[in-house]
Amino acid sequence: MSNWPAFLISEYDENSLLEYSPAMAHLRASTEPIIITAELMSKARDDGKQNIVAYLFAKYGIRTSALFSVHLPNGEIGGVTFAGEGPEPDQTKMVELHYLSNLLFSKIHALRDESDVKDFGLKPREIDCLQWTSQGKTSDEIATILGLSQHTVNHYLTNAARKLDTSNRTHAVSKALRLKIIS
């Protein structure tokens, strides 16, 4: 996550600059916050694209960035960047930004999760049936567990597959696991 202008993000991606980004390399190696100047970001890169980076940052007025490593309880990691043309933030500002980074990342992730589930309109029983299927239970076993008829369980699973825009139950379970609708 960053406060980069949308057009900077587009041009950055069009030039495939992320893979050899020093910021990404730092995120993979350390959880320590880091202040990155434009000069540092445009130092020699393994992909030789430092001139492109320097040009883009100058074009969009990025002189300094503060990068913070963040994580979620499920182990997902990410990075939040605050960038701009101002001077390097002092320690007090870095502490504030670090606090904000974690809050922001957590909130955005929660919104994304809710949005995924809301968009599919799955009912709790449909999710339950998907969950038990992912755990290796047959429709008959799920019916016993949930106190339903096998016919009803199959109905829930068929509906779930349809709502997830999937073509069969294996597809539905795999997609539900990937989207963390079930775990």
């Binding site: 047959t138 069969n168 139950r169 294996t170």
Partner: protein, 151 residues
Amino acid sequence: MQLQFDTNPRAYNPLDPESMELSPTEVLDAISRFDAVGLWRANLTTGLVYWSDIVYEIYGMEPQKGAVNVSAAIEAFHPDDREVVSRCMEEAANHKTGYRFVLRLNQPDGNYAWVKSVGLYRKLDDGTEEIFGYIQKFSAVARSVTILTQD
């Protein structure tokens, strides 16, 4: 570690053991003698997955009867690889195709082992549709030799 995707069409190159005066059984023995091959299948209609005992062994789990806990099976992969595992099965089940991945599987000692898994679509005579395949752990080190001393 960067993930590499390859979606290039592949020509079908069937093994032809008979042309080498070998039986399919002998070929399978050669493939699996030094690195055990676990077999699995996923019924697209029921959503249930079944493993051979060797797959449990590769995962470091006790073999069980019945269908597999797919959630646990995916959780056993490296966190960065889990979504890829789900995505592979998702795509194969949806498009009735196949995949191969080489990814990191957690082991009982806490380290990760590289495993290769191949999945292919099949339709049985009774109309049952499945994704089936194998999983194999890489245990060989580059430039190493293993001698079979007993049969």
